[in-house]
């Protein structure tokens, strides 16, 4: 537990918000720091799980019909 990498940094990496050089450096860090690798694995899995669940919703058919009708009437 002595890696001082902030979770914020890990999130920036996860969200692809780093500059290319930063990203390469962080990716390299992950290969040698087991703590960060574990945390990254957890956060990645967590994000994927939540996004998968969020994306299960389907647009109700009547909403599409309503929107199409409304657009035509403007």
């Amino acid at each position: 537990m002595d890696c001082r990498t902030e979770l914020h940094e890990l999130y920036r990496f996860l969200d692809r918000e780093m500059l290319p050089e930063e990203e390469a450096e962080f990716a390299n860090h992950i290969t040698i720091c087991l703590e960060c690798l574990k945390r990254y694995g957890f956060e990645l899995q967590f994000q994927q799980l939540v996004v998968r669940r969020m994306h299960q919703e389907e647009v109700p058919e009547d909403l599409m019909a309503k929107v199409k009708g409304a657009l035509r009437s403007i």
């Binding site: 979770l7 914020h8 999130y11 920036r12 969200d15 918000e17 574990k38 945390r39 694995g41 957890f42 956060e43 899995q45 967590f46 994000q47 799980l49 939540v50 996004v51 669940r53 969020m54 994306h55 919703e57 389907e58 647009v59 109700p60 909403l63 599409m64 309503k66 929107v67 199409k68 409304a70 657009l71 035509r72 403007i74």
Partner: protein, 189 residues
């Protein structure tokens, strides 16, 4: 493109049907593929199907009304999400049960523990419920990030700065993990 000509003629005569139809088709090509994203975001924001449908419909109609103001070459997705976000903040949260405040939540972050059964347990819990229980500002930021917006885009959509986006996203994730961890422990018992 003869937009200037079109504008002049539209002042004299009503806009020809064909032109309107073309505008509508261009708009629909941009907007309709985004309907699933808009709807699921609206659903988690309003927390019920009826309000979500209203919100999406109002956002789409408003976007269509201002479609001439949209700058080609910029992100239509970010533009329409900004419209929907503004509508939500202005109209919907006024009548929501909970006010738009950042609560002093406890600091119980979840300790990452990958070798635990966390993910197996969480599969059985209601992730949607946990997301809906997030305070509004965190929820909004988290949902936008989940739809693939960059921090910069989220900052623009929610009218804030990058630092605030990052800290809101950070808090949202920690709170969500904390909540799901609570649920998972509940399942265990």
């Amino acid at each position: 493109m003869s937009e200037e000509v079109a504008e002049v003629t539209s002042r004299k005569n009503p806009v020809p049907d064909r032109e309107l139809q073309q505008k509508r088709e261009r708009f629909q090509q941009e907007a309709f593929p985004l309907m699933p994203m808009l709807y699921r975001t609206a659903l988690r924001l309003t927390r019920n199907q009826h309000d979500a449908e209203d919100l999406v419909q109002n956002a789409v109609l408003r976007a269509y009304t201002f479609f001439d103001k949209f700058q080609p070459g910029t992100s239509f997705k970010a533009w329409i999400f900004k419209i929907m976000t503004n509508l939500f903040i202005n109209d919907y949260h006024k009548r929501a049960r909970t006010p738009l405040t950042v609560p002093l939540e406890n600091q119980s972050g979840f300790e990452p523990d990958p070798e635990k059964l966390f993910f197996d347990q969480v599969m059985d819990t209601d992730i949607k419920k946990a997301v809906e229980e997030l305070p509004e500002v965190y929820r909004l930021t988290f949902l936008l990030a989940s739809e693939g917006f960059s921090y910069k885009e989220i900052a623009s959509i929610t009218r804030t700065n990058l630092g605030t986006v990052m800290s809101r996203l950070y808090r949202a994730r920690r709170l969500l993990q904390g909540k799901l961890w609570e649920y998972a422990k509940g399942v265990e018992r």
